[in-house]
Amino acid sequence: MICAPAIDNRLSIEKSEAGRRGLWCRNPLRAKAKVPAELRRKSPPRLPELSEFDVVRHYTRLSRLNFSVDTHFYPLGSCTMKYNPRFNEEAAALEGFTALHPLAHDTCAQGTLELIHDLSARLVELCGLDAITLQPAAGAHSEFTGLLLAKAYFEAKGETRNEIIVPDSAHGTNPATASMMGFTTVNIASKPDGRLDVEELKKHIGPKTAVLMLTMPNTLGIFESNIEAIAAAVHEAGALFYMDGANLNALIGMVKPGDFGVDLMHLNFHKTFSTPHGGGGPGAGAIVCREQLAPFLPVPLVRKEGGKYVSDFGDGRSIGKVKAFFGNTGVLIRAYAYMLAHSAAELGDIARYSIINANYVRALLKDIYPSYSKEYCMHECVLAPGADMTAKGLKTLDVAKGLLDRGFHAPTIYFPTIVHEAIMIEPTETESRATLDEFAAAMRDIHDAGVADPQTLKDAPHTMPVKRLDEVQAARQPNLHW
């Protein structure tokens, strides 16, 4: 937003006029419609009646009420809000891709199948693993797929294992996914330095453990340096090592997760692979795994057979489908376009500069926003307001709202929960030094202004289309539609 526009927060339905139209369907075959009266709806749906221009102006104005990556620095930790290349959008919009029906005959789908096949091969190599599915529609959906694979794997071996170990710094999706599948979640407290406590892990891991789910780097932006000991403990117990790949941006092209003992992991295309977040999706995910888990992958997979690409429905050991059809292909096409734009070395630069940027922000701010970890961070840093701010009753939420007034989206706040008043900043590699300098200046200004006049900061934001919103009323008396 250049300046806060005069807000017109009327709903589309409140702009509706009976008899007004945007689009028509005049196909003469309508006259042949055959739906008996008793099967027809009694009253028309209450939808707005608007002209096309009404609709375009309404939603264009709404769009201007948003912060977005294109308009604002958006350092949301663990979300990897990097630049979304325009080329990816143009590639995915090619009609040859968009018009392809998911049940099209393989002979009509050779282009898309080849793309999926090539993308799969590249990602498998990138992770240092053996096989992949691109069917999951998001990160959490991938976790779900990964745990299903683990379950099927142990069932096939005749082993009953019903526990999933997660550290207390894990994303909420890890335990939620585990319980969705009927697993019991075993939480392990992190050590003071934020790392997984290997001794604790050894105490809890055993014949009941199916999987250790570990985010790498973890949500404190720290790499598990004792990774070899962790992997050894997992494998010694006969369990599987799952890497939550939400933070892969820190590692891409720099390490191969397979090298340090990961058995399966997920990818988030809307994070590491630059596909747009869309205001909350669509994303796409993948599970990349070792050979022994491959027979259980969801179907169909794409196989090359005598120069042709074919859909492979497996040998019956598959876990089945996690969604209809193939996957979020439109998102995969964007990710493939991104892969084409990077050589192996350039993929490594993504990790390199995401780490440099995060450490740079940390270095510029650590005197007034102390860092939870005393070490250098990977792609994100977790800070908190300093003592002079908390002494004035200032909280992380106030810092977040103060940033909005200064033209920056807030970082992720109050996560990870193990850090009091956490401010989790992930700049990503696509932000320039100048932007980071401006961000740091804004954070310093918030500090100085907040300490001098706490109330003004507690009342922030002052320049947004709305002020702080009453979330309690929203939950107590839900108003969910017009």
């Binding site: 419609a33 769009s63 979304n84 009509c108 969705m180 969801p298 089945g320 940390r362 702080r468």
Partner: protein, 442 residues
């Protein structure tokens, strides 16, 4: 490469950090794992080269005149929908965690929830799920949570991919049982219902069903209620331009595949899971929900609400693990619905019905072909064909027409049949060409 740093930037930034080399920053990673070789291209493509590669792949897909349906439908995406969804203020934002800086996305989601509630005639809807199949599975899971029962009664006409996804969502656990309602003339045999429903969590129905037929839903909710079971209904949203809404026949949960609302086919996604329910089940809804509220000055505003159901708060006690949904697709569907309005959606639904009726009339009259079922259908129907359906399809494809989906792998009991679909994108001439090609292929 989308990295802005110059060599000087890098050096000065490392200096500010207080290190002399990047390697000092990653000492926490055991060095033996750093910088392995990757068998990946040593050169990236420039944009000109990448554009050529993508164009070549896109051209590798063939575009026959297609009569495929079966859960994904050929639609025209209006220019205004594309214009709005490519506004990068929508495209490049994320989940509205900071409501003051996300009122655009939040109000659009509220309007989406309102659109879905209106179309399905339900009390409330969420901010979307991944697709129709995952919405269906989540609705059945919710019914299981509400009733505490683990028996799922379902119509034989439910999309087989939805059933596959459901079984996967229950991780194939033997605790759950699935009872199929027998099919009679392509629709559920309602007479069989009362006996099957005992102890059931829900009856799961899809109408129009996978075979295109419209289920007669009168009395089904009442039968379910008598048995203490809930009604989960899946319906195509465009069909609801004319067909009875799930709310009108008493559904507890109503779901659908939102791809129909103007989203491209894109080989299966991204699509849009529509999820709605009666208000007593609102706290069982998975995923994000937006609510209207007021700011400190009393001005209207929107926030994510009822978050106590969600994974980032409840962790292992959450209603679902969903985090990202399909927000941009939800925006597209909302804009599409607003552009057409109630009258336009009715026209679209009629055009679907009319196009399919005309195709059925022409194909059903071909010697050796016949319509498998007599009941009313929406935009697709089952055609019995002489000889092997898949061989017939391949012959027709060689003539540039995809005449429909052979059903034998999914419904062997139907014999050699095709599921033929015609939406509003088809003209009379298209259907006459379909007729000609089917005749030639036979």
């Amino acid at each position: 490469m989308y990295i802005p740093h110059t060599k000087t930037d890098k050096e000065e930034m490392l200096k500010s950090i207080g290190v002399s080399s990047f390697e000092e920053l990653v000492k926490q990673v055991p060095s033996k794992f750093l910088w392995p070789g990757f068998a990946l291209p040593e050169e990236s493509l420039d944009e000109t080269q990448a554009a050529a590669r993508m164009a070549q792949l896109a051209a590798g897909n063939k575009r026959p005149l297609s009569f495929l349906g079966g859960g994904a439908y050929e639609r025209y995406t209006p220019a205004a929908v594309k214009a709005i969804t490519s506004r990068t203020e929508f495209l490049t934002a994320y989940t509205p965690y900071q409501p003051e800086a996300s009122q655009g996305t939040l109000q659009a989601i509220y309007e989406f929830q309102s659109t879905v509630s209106a179309l399905y005639g339900m009390d409330c809807a969420n901010a979307s799920l991944y697709d129709g199949a995952s919405s269906f599975a989540e609705a059945v899971r919710a019914a299981v949570r509400v009733t505490g029962r683990k028996k799922i009664v379902y119509c034989a006409g439910v999309n087989p991919q939805y059933m596959d996804t459901l079984r996967t969502y229950f991780a194939h656990s033997p605790e759950y049982s699935y009872v199929r309602i027998p099919m009679k003339d392509g629709v559920m045999d309602k007479a069989a219902l009362p006996a099957l429903l005992e102890g059931a969590a829900c009856i799961a129905v899809q109408t129009p069903n996978f075979l295109g037929l419209i289920e007669d839903m009168s009395g089904v909710a009442e039968t379910a209620k008598k048995a203490g079971a809930l009604l989960v209904a899946a319906a195509d949203p465009v069909s609801l331009g004319i067909l009875t809404a799930p709310g009108e026949y008493g559904a507890d949960f109503a779901v659908g595949e939102g791809q129909s609302l103007g989203l491209p086919l894109s080989y299966g996604g991204p699509y849009l899971g529509l999820f709605s329910c009666k208000k007593e089940h609102v706290r069982q809804m998975p995923g994000r929900i937006t609510g209207m509220t007021k700011d400190k000055d009393g001005k209207r505003g929107f926030v994510l609400t009822l978050q106590a159901r969600e994974q980032h708060i409840r962790r292992d006690k959450a209603a679902s693990n969903i985090c990202s949904n399909e927000a941009l697709c939800a925006l597209a569907a909302t804009v599409y619905s607003a552009l057409y309005g109630p009258e336009g959606l009715k026209e679209l639904a009629e055009a679907n019905s009319g196009a399919a009726a005309f195709a059925a009339e022409r194909l059903g009259a071909i010697k050796g072909c016949s319509l498998k079922f007599k009941g009313p259908f929406f935009n697709e129907f089952v055609l019995s064909v002489p000889g092997k359906a898949d061989a017939l399809r391949e012959k027709a494809l060689a003539r540039g027409v995809d005449i429909g989906l052979p059903l034998a792998p999914l419904f062997p009991e139907l014999g050699e049949t095709l599921l033929v679909c015609a939406t509003e994108t088809k003209t009379e001439a298209d259907i006459l060409r379909l007729e000609t090609v089917v005749k030639e292929a036979i």
